[in-house]
């Protein structure tokens, strides 16, 4: 279970690490597109685009639509949401610590007035 989650996230982050692949995802966010259409804005070959698409597909970030002729690619939201959720979860855990640190720093600044340690006045005290 953990390994699945890990492998999935690994593939997602790997896929997102490349600027061309991020640009492809941004394009697909506006609607599905064929490989030819996707290759248009880039100065790289269609095989190179196909390679990027394979990475995105393996990560589950895109899928191939019904139309057998055009084989349009479209964006799949779930892995992206998982990657975002992980970052957000870590952010929240750190943020809880940092908010405690905010409080501690404020207390330290109140407790060490310039008079006692000859320390330079803090912005907080100046405002008072």
């Amino acid at each position: 279970m953990k390994h699945n989650a890990s492998t999935r996230l690994d593939a997602t982050f790997l896929a997102l690490a490349d600027p061309t692949r991020r640009a492809i995802l941004a394009r697909l966010a506006t609607g599905e597109a064929s490989v030819t259409e996707l290759a248009e804005p880039f100065s790289i070959s269609q095989p190179a685009i196909s390679k990027h698409l394979k990475v995105l597909e393996r990560a589950g970030l895109i899928s191939v639509g019904q139309d057998a002729q055009r084989r349009p690619r479209r964006l799949e939201g779930t892995p992206l949401a998982e990657a975002t959720a992980w970052l957000e979860q870590h952010r929240a855990a750190w943020e809880a610590n940092f908010q405690r640190l905010d409080g501690l720093l404020e207390e330290m600044q109140r407790a060490s007035p310039a008079a006692r340690r000859g320390r330079q006045q803090t912005a907080r005290q100046k405002r008072r």
């Binding site: 996230l9 979860q89 870590h90 855990a93 809880a96 610590n97 600044q109 330079q120 803090t122």
Partner: protein, 170 residues
């Protein structure tokens, strides 16, 4: 001019690293102290709600060791981190190794040491702290990611709910 971040920003600069950035409304020397004096560290580096930090030993000099341990107040479960300081440059930079001590929680976390670089940058009346954790390999980072994803999920979501309730969105 440095951008200030009033909320923690978490990014992945490469496939083996995680970076956390946050600004504090305090002078650089004070923030550095809060990161390096054990009695101060113990007051804020607590992790998920319901956990305390009974062990916080830090010999902050090059080659000095540190040992952090957290305990779940309800079921007594413990885990920790320990390592060695590699660079100590008050009040702007700290580099230390970080080995996970699974305690009674589980050992899915990577076995190899991570390298943690903490920089304290002064700017105006704020200090921006950047913590870069280099897990050494993609596999190690992903293992850490997977542990965080499954073990801490519910606690973190509760924490997130509370944070969101407390803080009106900017």
């Amino acid at each position: 001019m440095q951008t200030t971040l009033d909320r923690a920003e978490v990014t992945q600069p490469s496939d083996r690293e995680v970076q956390v950035k946050r600004s504090f409304k305090a002078p650089q020397t004070l923030v550095y102290r809060a990161y390096t004096e054990p009695t101060l560290v113990q007051r804020w580096l607590l992790g998920p709600p319901g956990w305390s930090m009974p062990v916080c030993e830090m010999d902050v000099r090059v080659g000095g060791r540190y040992r952090w341990r957290w305990r779940n107040n309800e079921n007594g479960a413990e885990f920790g981190f320990s390592g060695t300081f590699r660079e100590v440059q008050p009040p702007s930079r700290l580099v230390h190794t970080e080995a996970y001590d699974p305690g009674t929680v589980g050992d899915d976390f990577p076995k190899n040491d991570a390298i943690v670089t903490v920089t304290f940058a002064a700017g105006g009346d704020r200090t921006t702290v950047t913590t870069l954790v280099d897990f050494g390999s993609k596999q190690a980072r992903d293992a850490a990611v997977a542990t965080g994803m499954t073990d801490g999920m519910e606690e973190s979501y509760q924490l997130l709910d509370r944070l969101l309730a407390e803080q009106p969105r900017a």
